[in-house]
């Protein structure tokens, strides 16, 4: 076997996973994505439409779709459900006023046929802020413990200082091994 075909074979063994990032506007989806890709997060702008990035990690090729979270864009979310391997739902833990709103959006997603059985990772983001709710309270607010039809995990994290992001993604990838 030539070197080139060997390399190609090695490359092919990278499993491709399609990851969908959803959540309300200002939750921190793009910041977490940039963290994953080791990019600068100091000048993030609100996402119009979506961002897509491919990140290589632990033998996985992650195609991450980061969709804007503003209300007017949410009707478009469903266009991106198809063949999703992992759903990552991002929450601004410091935004107590909108915890209910994000819970409603989240539970609507769980009822979507096209997302049936897809493992879900909830990032309780912005834990660096003193006003952030702990992950346990968010799990309660989202009624996570009632989920029976899929694997789920909640991970406290901070896109700002990087805490928890790796741990969360490692769990997500494990569900796809």
């Amino acid at each position: 076997m030539g070197l080139l075909s060997l390399l190609r074979k090695l490359k092919r063994s990278d499993k491709e996973v399609r990851i969908l990032f959803l959540g309300l506007d200002n939750a921190g989806k793009t910041s977490i994505l940039k963290r994953l890709a080791d990019e600068d997060i100091s000048e993030i702008r609100p996402t119009q439409g979506f961002n897509i990035k491919t990140v290589q990690k632990d033998g996985f090729k992650m195609n991450v779709w980061d969709i804007g979270g503003q209300k007017a864009i949410r009707p478009y979310w469903r266009n991106y459900f198809e063949s999703t391997d992992i759903l990552v739902y991002v929450i601004d833990s410091s935004d107590r006023i909108r915890i209910e709103e994000t819970g409603i959006e989240f539970n609507t997603l769980l009822e979507e046929n096209k997302l049936a059985g897809v493992p879900v990772l909830v990032f309780a983001n912005k834990q660096d802020l003193p006003t952030a709710l702990p992950a346990s309270e968010i799990a309660f607010g989202l009624n996570l413990h009632a989920i029976r039809d899929r694997q789920w995990q909640i991970q406290a994290c901070s896109a700002k200082n990087g805490d928890g992001i790796q741990e969360g993604m490692e769990w997500a990838l494990k569900t796809n091994k």
């Binding site: 309300l24 506007d25 200002n26 100091s42 000048e43 993030i44 702008r45 609100p46 996402t47 119009q48 439409g49 979506f50 961002n51 804007g68 979270g69 503003q70 209300k71 007017a72 864009i73 478009y76 266009n79």
Partner: protein, 310 residues
């Protein structure tokens, strides 16, 4: 169409390819040895060139020269002493001195242009600082600015409360614009205000275009993205010629923003196929390419105030 001048040709065909740039540098080296002169010196001696063009050529030379890297840093980002020091080093390296050490006319031209260039790099620092000032709801000055933007765009319509769904009508994401300024900070807000203030009719017209039934986009969010785009253009040196030929000031930067906004609106509605907000990043990317090409060709920068129907 503009005259194709040397600086444009260099930007388009030489500096854009590392191979051609290498060949070009070898030719320059040989010519320099043969004539005991330097490109920098010849440019400063060229009486036919306008000062704007000379300044821009100097910027190109400094940026692409391997031998003047330290001098460039000292000139453009350093203290006054470092500037003097680097200036002397360049005069010596680039053969501005004959036998005596008297400053020639060319040397004076060089200094004048360097000072103009320095302003463009200082502007980068000023704007970066502004972009780093986060919007703060507890800061009355910031709050006043936000209300000013509302009044400029919406006139008599009353805002029912500070947190209101109404903000979405001018293209913010939710009920509180404060979080939307992330990344571009107070600079994003000030540029929106500048546009709405100085081109009020145009801004209002574009706002109404942005409410298009199928191809809608969020006006204010797009504005913040345009601020980020413009800052990138500045940092990537695409705005150099524009700033040198006008004036390296916040005012010029803001004028260019108004140009960007009107150009973006036209670009958005003139796609071969109608687009939706989900195509935004794709369209934005080709928009940036188009603007870079306009800047490289030194096309005139004019804010399009014509009210086109889309």
């Amino acid at each position: 169409m503009n005259n194709i001048t040397e600086d444009i040709i260099l930007d388009k065909y030489v500096y854009s390819s590392s191979f051609i740039l290498k060949v070009y540098k070898i030719i320059k080296y040989v010519l320099g040895k043969l004539s005991n002169s330097s490109e920098l010196l010849r440019i400063c001696q060229n009486e036919k060139l306008r000062e704007t063009k000379i300044t821009y050529r100097i910027d190109q030379i400094l940026f692409y020269s391997d031998k003047l890297k330290t001098e460039r840093m000292k000139l453009l980002n350093g203290t006054k002493e470092q500037l003097e020091e680097a200036y002397e080093q360049i005069l010596r390296k680039k053969k501005f001195y004959d036998n005596n050490t008297e400053k020639t006319a060319e040397a004076k031209v060089l200094m004048k242009c360097i000072l103009r260039l320095k302003e463009t790099y200082e502007l980068q620092d000023i704007l970066t600082k502004k972009a780093n000032i986060a919007y703060d709801s507890n800061n009355q000055e910031h709050e006043d600015k936000l209300m000013e933007l509302w009044t400029l765009l919406k006139g008599d319509e009353k805002l029912n409360s500070r947190k209101s769904e109404q903000w979405q009508t001018i293209g913010f994401q939710g009920v509180d614009p404060a979080t939307d300024f992330r990344g571009m900070g107070i600079l994003g807000l000030e540029q929106l205000i500048y546009f709405a203030q100085n081109f009020n009719d145009t801004a209002k017209h574009i706002l109404s275009c942005s409410h298009h039934k199928y191809s809608w986009y969020s006006f204010a969010i797009t504005g913040i993205n345009l601020t980020a785009l413009e800052l990138d253009l500045l940092r990537e040196r695409h705005l150099q010629y524009y700033l040198i030929s006008h004036e390296a000031s916040i005012e010029s930067f803001n004028e260019f923003y108004c140009y960007l906004f009107t150009e973006f609106n036209n670009f958005w509605f003139k796609r071969p196929e109608p687009v939706t907000v989900m195509h935004f990043n794709e369209v934005f990317k080709s928009f940036k390419e188009k603007i870079i090409s306009n800047l490289t060709n030194q096309s005139p920068i004019i804010v399009d105030t014509e009210k086109k129907k889309y």
